[in-house]
């Protein structure tokens, strides 16, 4: 019988000695240069962390290459960040410069620290998910190709800007609380294979799965049907009944959401809100999407005050001003119509023209 329930490796066996000695004793940190963190301990010891970009979807070759580097400069110790960057943990200051040099030679991108645009948190997309409306890896690659100077520190931003990409409205990740989120959406209601449905659809479950009550039985066909007016294209029914399909390459695409944040720093966490309702899927470059993200970052970077996250900036100037400054059309799609819609209506005469 195979071993079970033994859990992950003990983290204590994965820490460099300098961390073990200074665990819980770190006093402060500095950012001596883009992509590099210097943490100083109460004991006076210091640790340099060098952050490099990763595609997240990596090969064994990549794993072995970063292992090589870690062995050469970090006694084999490295980590990943919560945004999927790699961090080389340098305890010997003398090895910092050589490490940076090798990284540069090998075309690793050093950055993502402090006032930068760090790695995009993204999802499976066409690489692996059956629900994917778009390809998260492709979008990420294109957006970060465009944004790379903000990662490496060549261009600066008023504060952190967290970009996220999700291939469907399930939003695996934290799209719903990101400065900029690119989310795959459907625009047509699911199509039912009645033939198949009559055999496999557990009709009551399928009906129950619809949050808006758009599904009703079709006793004639021993199937179900969907009320177009009520369907909000969430795809929930397709999870429950395999005879229902929602993929529609011609009409599927992505939406862009802005102004979310997770941290409790200064302001409270905020949801991302709809900026651009629809952009068609246009692989391999999705130029309209990259342009839109670039534009949003630039508008924010050139208008916000130092330290202001996207949502904090918009909160200060107001959404009406945001749509004007960003020169985005405001449409019926932007008006909330879900459960708490009326808490988003403007119940004051205070507004800007």
């Amino acid at each position: 019988m195979a071993r079970t329930d033994f859990g992950p490796p003990d983290y204590k066996t994965m820490l460099p000695p300098v961390i073990k000695r200074n665990y819980g004793k770190w006093l402060y940190h500095e950012v001596p240069q883009p992509g590099v963190l210097r943490h100083v301990s109460e004991t006076g010891e210091e640790l340099y962390s060098v952050r490099v970009a990763s595609a997240r979807l990596v090969s064994s070759e990549f794993i072995r290459d970063i292992s090589d580097i870690a062995e050469k400069y970090c006694d084999g110790f490295l980590r990943f960040t919560t945004r999927n960057n790699v961090e080389f943990l340098v305890s010997d200051k003398a090895k910092l410069e050589p490490l940076l040099k090798e990284l540069d030679e090998k075309d690793y991108l050093v950055g993502g620290v402090g006032l930068s645009i760090s790695n995009i948190v993204h999802t499976q997309g066409w690489i692996h998910c059956k629900s994917a409306v778009t390809d998260a890896s492709g979008l990420t690659k294109n957006i970060m190709d465009t944004m790379v100077d903000y990662f490496t520190g060549k261009k600066s931003v008023p504060s952190r800007c967290r970009i996220a990409v999700a291939c469907c409205v399930n939003m695996c990740g934290a799209c719903h609380c990101s400065d900029i989120a690119v989310v795959g959406i459907h625009r047509t209601i699911p199509r039912i294979n009645h033939e198949l449905a009559s055999k496999i659809c557990e009709i009551p479950n399928t009906i129950a799965s619809c949050p808006t009550g758009a599904i009703r039985p079709n006793p004639k066909l021993k199937s179900v049907e969907i009320n177009h007016e009520k369907c909000m294209m969430c795809g929930n029914c397709t999870v429950v009944c395999p005879a229902i399909k929602i993929m529609d390459p011609e009409n599927d695409g992505v939406s862009i959401w802005v102004g979310g944040k997770v941290s409790n720093a200064r302001s409270k966490p905020m949801f991302s809100r709809l900026a651009i309702p629809f952009i068609p899927n246009n692989p391999p470059f999705w130029p309209e999407v990259t342009d839109a993200v670039k534009h949003l970052v630039e508008v924010w970077a050139s208008n916000a005050r130092p330290g202001e996250r996207m949502g904090e900036w918009i909160g200060r100037i107001g959404w009406e001003r945001f749509f004007a400054i960003a020169d985005l059309p405001f449409t019926d799609k932007h008006l909330d119509d879900f459960t708490h819609a009326n808490t988003t209506f403007r119940s004051t005469t205070q507004f800007k023209y």
Binding site: Y11, M14, S59, I63, V121, P284
Partner: protein
């Protein structure tokens, strides 16, 4: 795995090998040098790029012996066209807390995965797992057995406790109020059964951040977020504050950003003051002056519950359940709370209903009663505005 077939042309994906950012296409191609499955993936994804649609479908449930989860089954929807992507399951491998690794461990992992799988990974999945991307049903068990030998277990999937995750905490951060990594490790070990054998209405996620900066994005994407905090005064080193000022920091502007006006700068005496009773621990002042300000000494966690993505009732950001609670090994109080919550949820939750949705449906008051907690104003941003108060029979005089 060894390779025979020549990969078909992938002109669209090839475009994505250009550009500065590391390319996932290049990574797949690297793997495809030795893995047929990676080749199959490349072909199928190229087709998706051309046709603008995915080609995966769900199949029967697959897994390893003794476990109800940890593997996500995947099959191509067109096995004739993409025979090498016929089976393409992912294994969710529980990452090391804080994502710390030795090169030795990573190499051992790569050796196993090259043998049993595609040689492709997500480092890491959004929940936190190491995602081993693409293997066959047949290889699942031997791969799992081999992983066990290098101490890598599977994480969660389905209606189970999902793989926990945490920020680097005290290992690499001066702001950490708790030993986040130890807490994650301890809870993970304690809840192995709940993680590996789905028995709940839906997924349940726990994430841990060492402080309210929430670098694990816990409050947005976990049913239960454990966030380090403190309840005494921020430690101030006035000497270092003055140095920041001398270096050009505009202290008036720094103070203006304190959300509760707790922060004050006495220009004359060059002294920073903090009204502890007004401080909401927003981290702002500590973030901008890490050398001068430190978190307080009386540390613990704030527990938030209900965070989740939009399906089905809309996204929720976790809200406060316990404003402050001690968090020291063996975390008995926390475990006790987790048990009470998951028991309540397992009993009352509907299929595919997240904790936050359950509480919304039954009411926060009902939930608090169910888990034995007293209502506190810290749990809400404001009390109710509608007059529709429920009163229980035992609260009023019996009559009629």
């Amino acid at each position: 795995m060894d390779v025979e077939k020549k990969v078909a042309a992938t002109p669209l994906l090839d475009e994505l090998e250009k550009g500065d950012w590391p390319s996932f296409v290049t990574e797949i191609k690297k793997a495809a040098k030795t893995s047929k499955m990676a080749q199959g993936l490349l072909e199928q994804v190229e087709a998706s790029y051309v046709e603008k649609t995915g080609h995966w479908k769900h199949g029967g449930i697959v897994g390893v012996k003794g476990y109800g989860g940890g593997v996500v089954g995947r099959y191509t929807d067109d096995p004739d066209r993409f025979p090498d992507a016929r089976e393409f399951h992912t294994m969710r491998v529980n990452q090391v807390p804080g994502f710390f690794y030795t090169s030795e461990k990573l190499r051992a992992l790569a050796d196993i995965w090259d043998k049993y799988g595609s040689g492709l990974y997500n480092m890491h999945g959004s929940t936190g797992d190491i995602i081993l991307l693409g293997t066959t049903t047949e290889n699942l068990q031997p791969c799992f057995d081999a992983l066990g030998e290098i101490d890598f277990d599977l994480g969660g999937s389905g209606g189970a406790l999902r793989t926990l995750s945490c920020c680097c905490g005290e290992a690499r951060c001066e702001k950490s109020c708790i030993d986040a990594m130890d807490m994650m490790y301890d809870l993970t070990m304690y809840y192995q059964n709940e993680m590996h054998r789905p028995a709940w209405p839906y997924k349940f996620k726990i994430k841990i951040s060492g402080c309210p900066n929430d670098c694990a994005a816990a409050s947005a994407r976990s049913d239960m977020a454990l966030i380090g905090t403190w309840r005494d005064a921020i430690q101030v080193n006035q000497e270092e504050v003055r140095k920041y000022v001398a270096d050009g920091m505009n202290m008036v502007q720094v103070c203006r950003k304190c959300p509760t006006e707790a922060l004050g700068w006495d220009e004359k005496n060059q002294t920073l003051s903090i009204k502890t009773e007004d401080c909401v621990r927003c981290m702002h002042c500590i973030n901008v002056m890490p050398k001068a300000l430190r978190i307080g000494k009386e540390r613990g966690i704030t527990v938030q519950i209900g965070g989740k993505a939009p399906v089905v009732k809309g996204a929720m950001i976790g809200w406060i359940l316990v404003p402050f609670m001690k968090a020291e090994a063996p975390y008995t109080e926390i475990k006790d709370l987790v048990s009470r919550i998951t028991e309540f949820w397992a009993e009352h939750g509907k299929n595919r209903e997240r904790l936050g949705e359950l509480v919304e449906r039954l009411s926060l008051a009902t939930f608090l009663e169910g888990v034995g907690l007293k209502p506190l104003p810290q749990m809400v941003s404001a009390p109710r505005a509608n007059p529709y108060i429920f009163w229980k029979e035992e609260e009023v005089v019996k009559n009629g």
